[in-house]
Amino acid sequence: MIDVKGLKKSFGDNHVLRGVDLKVEKGEIVTMIGPSGAGKTTLLRSLNWLDAPDAGTIRIDDAEIDAARAGKKAVKRLRSKTAMVFQHYNLFNNKTALENVTESLIMVKKLSKETAKARGKELLDRVGLSDKYNAYPSFLSGGQQQRVGIARALAVDPKVILFDEPTSALDPEWVNEVLTVMTEIAREGMTMVVVSHEMRFVRDVSTRVLLLDDGQILEDGTPEQVFKNPQHERAQQFLKLAHLE
């Protein structure tokens, strides 16, 4: 499903990704953990080219792109395979919950307004927001906004959904409702790459854990393997410090 080879990225002389290789199969729920500044966000954002890597190739489904010659068309094709859920939701402020979801259906998939609306409502129902179709983001709680974000991502009908710390900006009371929705989506077989330190999700839902450190994948295995039996000392240190062991 995803095949990343030799991904490198630096901001100035800060080497954020130092040649990352990663394969993800269909249906896998991959969570990335690691210390702050490890490059988790950057790796995730490279997957839909919100950050343009300096070198390496990314293939998602049948869309392939090489950092050395990434044209507009290739970027668009790559992006059509993914959708993203942001830490700070990034909902379209000037659009209602429903319009946030239908925007891509109408503008990208070119569905008729009626079809898009029906589909949009279905998706909002699915994330438990049947009573908020016409609410603007600023009138929604953090948890509700993030669920709209998830519905908006689902509307793209992506091969993979990328989540960047989807619950870390939320008050504790709203975390559960978002995790529940994510868990449901995972159970339905969606491929997901998630940056999160939310242990309930990492341990119980994800099928695979990557531990990033200093722009490299340090540990790669099932949650069991990574938490119980990390191979590298730095990984052990991190797990201890973050109380994740």
Binding site: W49, L50, A83, L91, F92, N93, N94, E103, Y136, V156
Partner: protein
């Protein structure tokens, strides 16, 4: 000339002075419309940092903001004919200078002036939109154009509206300068009416009140429009 302040005379001049209000409004609205388009184009050029054009726009804005509108008006009034004559001689074109009404120079100068100010307002409003909005657009595969049209610009214009309204109200008042290039608008008419009776104070009070009334109306209209476009924003309770 007995009375210090002749209120009867003052009231009697209202129709005459008011009869030139349409000229004032015409110049203001036409200039405002052109200024808005110009301001938008300059803002886009500068936002996307279009090469060659962007620094030129920056220079233009700096000049228009750094020189008095009055001077710009006179430069346009005397300069454009010279420019045209020069073109006629140099390039063999046949522009007729006499055919251009003075009001056109007024609109020309005022819309350039106001456009410069509006461009900064619009650019600032675009810069103020969080990058996350654009990234969200890209994440659902909207094109840059779609993102701009559907998400970024509507929000930017909402944020820019109060300042744009301000610019327009300034513009409306700056039309009072154009009597200097012999356009008979409200201010010019007031001067003419006043000079017939040597009662300038009264007529200027009349002009002031008419300008105020028009601006007041504009403020109300803008407030209503703003209320409408800002419906997506949550407001703190007082």
């Amino acid at each position: 000339m007995g009375k210090i302040f002749d209120i009867q005379f003052m009231i009697s001049t209202i129709p005459q002075i008011g009869s030139k209000l349409p000229v004032t409004l015409w110049i203001a609205f036409l200039s405002g419309f052109i200024a808005l388009i110009l301001g938008f184009i300059i803002a886009m050029i500068r936002y996307f940092n279009v090469r060659v054009l962007s620094p030129l726009c920056k220079l233009f804005v700096s000049f228009m903001r750094g020189t008095p509108a009055m001077v710009q008006l006179l430069v346009a009034y005397y300069g454009v004919p010279i420019l045209l004559r020069g073109m006629n001689e140099g390039l063999g074109t046949r522009f007729s200078v006499n055919g251009i009404p003075a009001a056109a120079f007024a609109v020309f100068a005022l819309s350039l002036n106001s456009g410069a100010f509006m461009s900064e307002t619009i650019r600032g409003a675009m810069m103020a939109i969080d990058a996350g909005q654009l990234e969200a657009c890209y994440s659902v595969n909207l094109s840059a154009g779609q993102a701009l049209r559907r998400i970024i610009l509507p929000q930017a214009f909402t944020n820019a509206l109060p300042a744009l309204g301000n610019s327009f109200i300034s513009l409306l008042k700056e039309t009072s300068l154009v009597f200097n290039i012999s356009v008979i608008e409200m201010m010019a008419q007031a001067k003419i009416t006043g000079s017939r009776s040597y009662r300038f104070f009264e007529v200027y009070i009349v002009v002031a009140l008419i300008y105020w009334a028009v601006c007041f109306l504009m403020e109300r209209v803008l407030a209503v429009v703003e209320e409408k476009v800002r419906r997506y924003e949550r407001r703190a309770v007082k």
